[in-house]
Symmetry: C2
Subunit: 353 residues, 2 copies
């Protein structure tokens, strides 16, 4: 993303202007879009340099790099609790955080549809900038492409992040073992149901708001509360929800799980909306929730650390890891029964993130 000012051109009309194919052509119009809209909102020294990429200090001695990427195609682009801009920062920051890394730098690739209002694009980029500031990361490089009307859908953003992984941390999905405890940082399904409620124009007594948030602060609070080795697996249950996340971990670690349905936090509004739409909150996406699998002797301390953090006040202990050669995730239901919690089989909620 070059931030070079091409000189003597009329400024972009950020109130009434629209995305033009010329913004993707690499010439003066693109340079204007970058300087007058992107670089202004995301301002930092790396973008200022105006080169094809960013030169960054390497992480500290003994630290490894973590890299993660996430495309965002959420529809609608604006929803209660955020928009594609803030979501695209949270999604990638969280992928780094659940790897145990301190998120440092983001790169943002925009694919814009011709005709999209510049005013809305500016709001999206400003949300991105605010989310990045709040999470303590910088958008250090970027790219913009434009496709013809009908070949895209407003705005797609692919965000890639680099983080630094301190020595000793390794919360990969393969480290769960029988007896470990499953914690979750709060109420499930809020992001997915906020999107669905808006998409289906459902009106509830109180609006469902996406939980979209950066989890790196919460993750650091956990590492401050227990030895790194006691934190076996961290994940953010996004697409496919808690059920899919736990099945992935069960398969990676070669274990089973037993969950307690009554202990799993779900708000009354989300539960009601799910019932109305025939959805199971365990499969609905979250964008600001943390699942932590931990050694049993540190579970109380970690749960207390979660609850002491603003993003974890409703945290709960929801189950344990079992030895199970079939890697089943099972649920003890409220009425004393048992049911399998399988992988999400097909499409439940398309374009939720």
């Amino acid at each position: 993303m070059s931030t070079v000012k091409p000189g003597y051109a009329r400024p972009l009309d950020l109130r009434k202007g629209r995305v033009d194919l010329a913004f993707g052509a690499g010439g003066r119009a693109m340079a204007q879009l970058v300087t007058e809209l992107f670089a202004r909102a995301l301002a930092n020294d790396y973008l200022e340099r105006g080169d094809d990429g960013a030169v960054l200090p390497a992480p500290g001695p003994g630290e490894r790099l973590v890299m993660s990427t996430d495309g965002h195609v959420v529809s609608p682009l604006f929803f209660p609790g955020g928009n594609i801009g803030s979501l695209s920062v949270h999604g990638t920051v969280n992928d780094l955080a659940v790897m145990g890394a301190r998120p440092l730098y983001l790169a943002a690739g925009f694919i814009l549809e011709e005709g999209y209002p510049l005013a809305d694009l500016a709001r999206i980029v400003e949300s991105m900038a605010a989310a990045a500031r709040a999470a303590g990361v910088q958008v250090v490089t970027g790219d913009t492409k434009v496709v013809e009307q009908g070949k895209g859908d407003g705005v797609f953003i692919t965000t890639t992040g680099i983080g630094a992984l301190p020595a000793g941390r390794d919360p990969g999905g393969a480290r769960a073992r029988p007896g470990d405890v499953v914690l979750v940082s709060g109420r499930l399904g809020e992001h997915g149901m906020a999107i669905m409620a808006q998409r289906e124009s459902l009106a509830f007594d109180s609006e469902i708001v996406s939980d979209s948030a950066a989890l790196n602060g919460l993750v650091e609070a956990l590492y401050a509360a227990a030895p790194a080795d006691a934190i076996r697996v961290l994940r953010d249950p996004t697409r496919g929800g808690l059920a899919t996340t736990l099945n992935e971990i069960a398969a990676q670690s070669g274990v089973g799980m037993e969950l307690d349905e009554v202990a799993i936090p779900v708000s009354p509004q989300v539960r009601a909306a799910c019932e109305l739409l025939g959805l199971d909150p365990l499969y609905v996406a979250n964008e600001g929730k943390l699942v932590a699998l931990c050694a049993p002797e540190h579970a109380d301390a970690l749960l207390a650390a979660m609850r002491a953090h603003p993003l974890g006040s409703e945290a709960a202990r929801i189950g344990i890891i079992t030895a199970d050669p079939q890697h089943f995730v099972q649920l003890r239901t409220g009425v004393g029964g048992r049911r399998m919690v399988d992988w999400l089989a097909g499409e439940q909620l398309p374009r939720i993130c």
Copy 2:
């Protein structure tokens, strides 16, 4: 990109199957797409782990990181000389290489349109894998999203790269100074005209083939041939072509340029195709050409190093940097005249990369 095998599902039909919205939903279908198509082609230990990102060794002591991202929306997806898969590797590898970095790791974010043939997707991913192997980089993490038919255009790929920048190298765009020499590694406009010829179904005596290629080997050959400080600016003239690239550098460095039209290498086919379509080859995109601005006393050695490399056999010295407070790029024409080479003003060739 989770590479966990979800077990007991029928394998994907890679011959006749099509992209389904379920492939983006985060469940079993997505896990199958990743394991049976992406991870199989791009196989490496980082992808194998199946986590939300890749844990990578940090660069060597004294080295800085370079990060760059590039969205790819080229249309058509397949063209003479490559496809969006190879192009998406070359584009990002080249952005890192022209920053002076050794490219190390790539992340790939796919946005797929519902209904796109899996067989074509597999060809694209295989081209990506082959291009990455040839360039000596690994695709260490990725992401897949699916949008409804009519909300995308087959396949978009956003590729983000990390490279290591050895101490002493800094070929940023602001380092050109009067007297420096402008070198270019070969014939211009081949990528853009290969795309245009296919899009417009133009038939020429001999097909125009995209120059899409990884430039990191050529860049290393230059650093082996002269002191790092003598290599002032490196760039790959992609969207907007040589003209836009040189105008960007002139603005960043606060200099002017004087180019010799006769010395600028353009093939007869590209020249003929440009005339037919009313295009100027100086504004047409390249995907495997290097522009190097260098200290005059090292220009001969660097030109010789370019010519000794398979990607630089047609390299040429095409101009010099001048002191010009207006930062104009000017061309001495074949007939002894002079003309301004301005920024690309609007859209010339949409979706060329």
